[in-house]
């Protein structure tokens, strides 16, 4: 229950409601144990976007700077949505993969732990 106390009615919309994105939705991407990128990055994409396109363009553009990127065994990778393990199909869209507005998708690459195993 809210603890907010006010002198007058207080009702303001969320700044980042999905309606504000003209048919697109926010998606956050993180590569676990590769903290060189400091924080996840955010995209606004149509829900019909193929998940594979995100890997091949956005993730590759950003993450290929890391020497581990070329080492990834894509058959062994795992994914989380927030803290929940999920199976993602690169040939399906965001919507068909069950990825909604403001979901955080986390890539786990077993055996790859960043520069000198530091997590970076």
């Amino acid at each position: 229950m809210t603890l907010l106390k006010t002198l007058a009615p207080y009702d303001f919309p969320s700044s980042d409601a999905v309606e504000n994105y003209a048919g697109r939705q926010l998606l956050y991407i993180n590569w676990e144990r590769h903290r060189m990128f400091s924080r996840p990055f955010v995209l606004a994409l149509a829900p019909e976007t193929l998940f594979g396109e995100i890997i091949d363009t956005h993730m590759t553009d950003c993450f290929s700077y890391h020497p581990d990127w070329a080492q990834i065994d894509w058959r062994a990778v795992r994914w989380l949505n927030g803290s929940r393990p999920v199976v993602l199909d690169r040939n399906k869209s965001l919507a068909d993969n069950g990825i909604g507005h403001k979901d955080l998708i986390r890539l786990i690459t077993p055996g790859l732990d960043g520069i000198a195993g530091s997590g970076y």
Binding site: S14, Y21, A22, F37, S38, V42, G119
Partner: protein, 514 residues
Amino acid sequence: MDMKVSKKLGLKERYTMMTRDLAWDTTFQPMDKVFPQVGYEGIKIHDWNAWEDPFRLTMDAYWKYQAEKERKLYAILDAFNQNNGHLSVTDARYINVLKLFLGSTPPLELMAARGFSMVARQMVGAGPRVACMMQSVDEYRHFQTQIHSISNYNRFYNGLDEFAHQQSRMWYLSDGKSFFDDAITAGPFEFMVAIGFAFEYVLTNILFVPFISGAAYNGDMAAMTVGFSAQSDEARHMTLGLECIKFMLEQDPDNLPIVQRWIDKWTWRGTRKLASVGMMMDYMLPKRIMSFKEAWEIYFEQNGTALFTDLARYGVKVPKCFDQTIEEKEHITHQSWIGFYMKPDATPFHTWMPQPEELDWLSEKYPNTFDTYYRPVYEHWIAQEKAGKRFNNKTQPMNCQVCVSTIKFNEPGDPMEMCFRETVYKGEKFHFCSDHCREIFEDEPEKYVQTFISSHAALQGKCEPEGTDVNAHDYRPGARMHAYWRMDKRASGDFNGSEDQKNFAKWRAQATQN
């Protein structure tokens, strides 16, 4: 005619006449209608007269002291400027400390000024009202003197001129802005706990001492003097914050849980805000005074423990985040510097990789963490830089919905894992950097759903520079952030190769050689 010569008033009498005697209870309107803000937060006050005025300063004496300070300050600033004092700093990397610190602080001082003048109007007792009014004037003075201090540097170095425009737009300034926006939109008592207590009392030392001594140690007499001049007001500010806490706790036992929640909330928010100050100490000062970790131990752990031992008699407990901040002191400055280094196009100040002896200093100061987690990636980046591949992460950040820091901190207990927290409110997902920020959100979600996150706003098309044609076929929301931020290209990028670096070397050579 006989003239009765009255005796000069004693200090106490004079004080009473100049403060409490000037106040009255309203009769045309009921007091609670004139002062509605003191009631709605749930704080119960039974006797406003019980407020102890911690410093018996009258307004006339206040003006006299402050004028004297100003005279001294501007004499030093003028001398510094006339003698090209900027060339006596250790090296041009130091200027970036001013760009970061003095580029982000003045607007916050202004918010503090606004906040305290609001609270001065909202409080019932004359004692707190006069004290808040003085603090408001102090904060306004800090705002002005800091700008005067940067104005001289602005004549010579890039990136200092758009801080006011950038304050409410720039990604890395959003944490400070949100801190003060949150405080000023709370009621007067929460504002006092947020700024007067948590910020001024618990955290101000860690903000000012490293900045002032860092400036002094690196040859910047101007910034040092501005810092000292502000710091001399802080004693009064701290006393006011502490007095307000004690007053609330003495007035009614029901106030304790409310005050405790505010202490927990604002100590955490302040801690997050100070991550970049710590980064300045560990990475940006060419000559370092002490590590952030050491400063945290002295000013937060030791002083904080003493303070909360003192407050324990009122039932107040140490802030909930205390243990987490102790674990984090080994990490946050490194994680912050990585966050800035990897984004060279997106700050109006330069970043760089530490030099070999600086890496060794960090190893020595952070024996538990630096070599294991941070040195390897720095050495990798240094090699990349030599190969002409300086890191530049072009993506847009994810931010905490409450503190608006980029989400870059580690899971408590595991420095290799990121810390993520989320919650769903009215069908929408919200993300946080920590348990503490999530709790703050969940206590008052109506407030934090409105947070301004620049990367989100950009993707909505709300961050376009003037003249952007949103109907153009190639229009992409957020593609022109640099123009929107009014980023001076010369001011961004790596320090090595920058115009500031070249100019400083050239001017110093002219000043010291024939």
